[in-house]
């Protein structure tokens, strides 16, 4: 085995020692610089926030299905409650669930293991990143307790509503929301710097650019996208905070400002953000698909180039959120064009994944079911986006439940389906034990079936003109026509079923951490480097020395070999 010191990149001050005294409980789990602990911290915080996001959606969907009745666990949902719940659900699910779990948790856990190094290059920045993130989550949750309650101006926080207390009636909540979001961005900026630097500098000897697993590439591209797009929004957030607290008028027309400016700043970040969380999800699916179909990834470089292409194009589509916002109508022509064009690289990734299945030897284990479901469900999310990107039909669909169903068909697969694929796939590595396949499959079907029964009715409601963020439709006779309330009830009941089945997952996950059957080092017979490390990997990851890399990550079923896999670190 080779010595660590052979590669100069690995020798620097911050690097934690592989052989040192075992620290105490607190230092090990709460003050650690180990990338796996920090990844787990992000993961469990993300899970806890997912419960918050799930509870808020439960409360407001119950109000929609049974308006005015007391909701078990919450009470009567008032108009201001409803707005706060909707706002919190959206903000939490995107900023405190999808981002931390997909990028921070999986990025932290997987990157050093998959590129074959012992830790991130900036472990202390990494620890700081999580701590800021935790504070941001607490600030957001704390806003429920202040005078006026949590902010209720939607996760997009459009001024003037968000800028003035006399409009939003949540003087403290609005500022706390902004502060929480800004802190969270700082946390991810720190994390992003770490990811990019680590992958560029600390890869195992022999790992060339095209030997990097797709999921690592995707997290890197996503981090770069995030870092490049977040600047305008942070600037906007500071301006909005001044408008709220110092009486400035950046977004106030009476003082020479313009409310639409915020929308440009927000969506200039907000649309790349969609791809920031989408790309890592696609990366996870690539890993799981290849392992469980025993196939080489179809056209590795094409996947990489389409991901980069998607990332670049994503900076030129933001105004499709603003077709009817009062921008110059001629702009819609340009942004319709770019928006429909971005469907090409995304569709191409889909084609590549479907082509990867051809000729495979597909094993329908739980992670594979999730990966296939990701493609199947995301397809619907993708194609319904065409209705919204095309300016003419967006006039009708904008701000209806059709939009809502569309982006849930993209975000749910991204933030949950792909994450379940990842967690079930890498669980044996993370904890050295196996999860129950039976419970896994029960949870799978108990999630996928209700998911479709939630959002397909919402497509129909949107097509019938139901507009968003309304806590009680009884004031709108055209939204109370025959059958429409039944669709709302169907969606809500399906949601309750879906939430109930998540208990199965939590039991399976936490029971298996402690009592699951012991897992071998490489239970799925996969190629990538994380499976070379012991399960769970110790501090420093590779006790027998860092691996050497000889080939790409997807050499499955190579014709020259009897074995149907060929680990990246195996010489010969």
């Amino acid at each position: 085995m080779r010595e660590t010191t052979e590669s100069p990149q690995h020798s620097h001050e911050d690097q934690p020692q592989t052989h040192h005294e075992r620290p105490g409980f607190f230092r090990r789990y709460f003050w650690s610089t180990d990338h796996k602990i920090i990844g787990s911290q992000y993961l469990f915080t993300g899970m806890a926030m997912a419960l918050v996001g799930g509870f808020t959606v439960y409360a407001f969907r119950m109000q929609l299905a049974f308006p005015g009745q007391s909701v078990p666990g919450w009470g009567r949902v008032t108009a201001s409650d409803y707005n706060a719940l909707v706002t919190t659900h959206g903000s939490v699910m995107i900023f405190w669930v999808a981002m931390p779990v997909l990028i921070a948790a999986l990025g932290n856990y997987l990157i050093p293991l998959m590129i074959g190094c012992d830790d991130m290059v900036f472990p202390r920045i990494n620890r700081l990143s999580y701590q800021l993130f935790l504070i941001s989550a607490l600030v957001l949750l704390g806003s429920f307790l202040v005078q006026g309650g949590a902010f209720g101006g939607a996760w997009t926080s459009y001024p003037p509503l968000s800028a003035k207390p006399q409009y939003n009636l949540t003087p403290a909540g609005a500022s706390l929301w902004l502060g929480a979001v800004a802190l969270e961005f700082v946390a991810f900026l720190l994390g992003g710097i770490n990811f990019v630097t680590t992958v560029m500098n600390s890869r195992a000897p022999g790992m060339k650019m095209f030997d990097i697993p797709i999921v690592v590439w995707m997290i890197i591209i996503a981090s770069i996208l995030f870092m490049a797009s977040v600047g305008p929004l942070v600037a906007g957030a500071v301006m909005l905070l001044f408008d709220q607290l110092a009486g400035t008028g950046f977004f106030d027309p009476a003082k020479g400002g313009d409310p639409v400016l915020w929308q440009h700043l927000f969506w200039f970040f907000g649309h790349p953000e969609v791809y920031v969380v989408m790309l890592p999800a696609f990366g996870i699916v690539a890993e799981v698909l290849t392992v469980f179909s025993r196939k080489k990834l179809f056209a590795y470089k094409t996947v990489l180039y389409t991901a980069v292409g998607t990332g670049v194009l994503s900076f030129f589509v933001w105004a499709h959120h603003q077709f009817i916002a009062g921008i110059d109508p001629r702009m819609a022509n340009i942004f319709s064009l770019t928006t429909l064009l971005i469907s090409i690289p995304v569709a191409e990734m889909m084609f590549v994944y479907i082509a990867t299945l051809y000729g495979g030897s597909i094993r329908l284990a739980t992670p594979m079911l999730w990966a296939i479901a990701f493609i199947a469900e995301f397809l619907l999310g993708g194609v319904t986006g065409i209705f919204l990107g095309s300016a003419g039909s967006d006039i009708y669909f904008h701000d209806t439940y059709f939009v809502l169903a569309h982006f849930h068909y993209t975000f749910f697969p991204i933030a949950f389906i792909s994450v379940f694929a990842a967690l079930t796939h890498w669980f044996p590595k993370m904890y050295g034990r196996l999860m129950s396949e039976t419970f896994g499959k029960v949870h799978f079907w108990g999630t996928i079936i209700p998911f479709n029964f939630i959002f397909i009715p919402l497509f129909f409601l949107g097509a019938r003109g139901d507009h968003r963020r309304i806590y009680d439709y009884s004031n709108f006779p055209d939204s109370m026509r025959a059958g429409m309330q039944d669709l709302r009830v169907l969606a809500t009941l399906s949601l309750v079923v879906l939430l109930a089945f998540q208990v199965v997952f939590l039991i399976n996950y936490f029971y298996s951490i402690f009592f699951g059957p012991k897992a071998p080092e490489n239970p799925w017979r996969a190629n990538t480097l994380e499976w070379v490390a012991p399960s769970p990997p110790p501090h420093g990851n590779f006790p027998e020395g860092l691996p050497n890399v000889y080939r790409g990550p997807y050499e499955y079923s190579h014709p020259d070999r009897v074995e149907d896999f060929w680990p990246q670190n195996e010489a010969g």
Binding site: A79, N83, Y158, P253, K296, G326, N333, F351, I362
Partner: protein
């Protein structure tokens, strides 16, 4: 497709519906094809005893056709949809025909104020008719609207017209419609505007010319009525 559920009541609503139908047919067809291929491959290539997976890199030009042909198909249909989308967009939002009358729509937390030009057909004259939450228009006439807001963002949406436009404080945004069907329909505010967002329902009342004239007569402010009109004594 949409008009089966939501009446189509403006001159451009059928075109918006047609665009939606075209997109639905195109993407619906390819969506089904993709799902069938995906699930078909999963069933066809489920693991079998003694069968090893194929080794396909996908880097070869011949293999890449499996991705590049659908790629060009996507491009072709994208262009098709863009052409349709922009034609409809320019009809609804860019090329405004000559107006017969102009109405003013003012949004605020949480009500709509509509200013009708009154019998003389001109805004800002003493016979203007102001109403709250109820807009009266005549079938077949071409209307321009001037949309503004007094406080936060709102959005003026008339689903039966397939029309939607945000109201921005400090700006007057113009648009147009020509009603083609009589009846009463919802006007929605579709931009979140505070805790009363759900309490901002408006109604649009589309009447034929007789009914509209009667409504005008009954609602013209007394001070603005012509002195010679029948029963003109105060």
């Amino acid at each position: 497709m949409i008009s089966k559920y939501v009446e189509s009541a403006s001159s451009y609503a059928p075109d918006v519906d047609a665009l939606i139908l075209v997109i639905a047919l195109v993407v619906g067809f390819w969506f089904l094809v993709a799902e069938v291929v995906l699930l078909g491959l999963v069933f066809r290539f489920t693991e079998r005893e003694g069968v090893k997976a194929k080794y396909v890199s996908g880097e070869d030009h011949r293999e890449k056709r499996w991705v590049s042909l659908p790629h060009f198909a996507t491009l072709f249909f994208d262009v098709l949809i863009i052409v349709g989308a922009l034609r409809v967009w320019s009809e609804v939002k860019m090329n405004m025909p000559q107006a017969d009358e102009t109405v003013r729509v003012i949004a605020q937390q949480w009500a709509w104020t509509f200013v009708h030009p009154g019998p003389d057909g001109k805004l800002d004259t003493p016979d203007d008719i102001r109403t709250i939450d109820e807009l009266h228009v005549e079938k077949g006439k071409t209307y321009h609207f001037e949309l503004t807001s007094r406080d936060v963002l709102h959005s003026f949406s008339v689903p039966v017209f397939r029309l939607k436009q945000d109201a921005v404080p400090g700006r007057i945004i113009k648009g147009w419609f020509r009603p083609t069907l009589t009846g009463q329909f919802d006007i929605q505010c579709v931009e979140i505007c505070g805790i009363g967002h759900a309490l901002m329902p408006g109604r649009i009342v589309i009447e034929d010319s007789d009914a509209h004239a009667a409504w005008l007569l009954a609602n013209t402010p007394l001070t603005a009525r012509a002195p010679t009109s029948p029963g003109g004594q105060p």
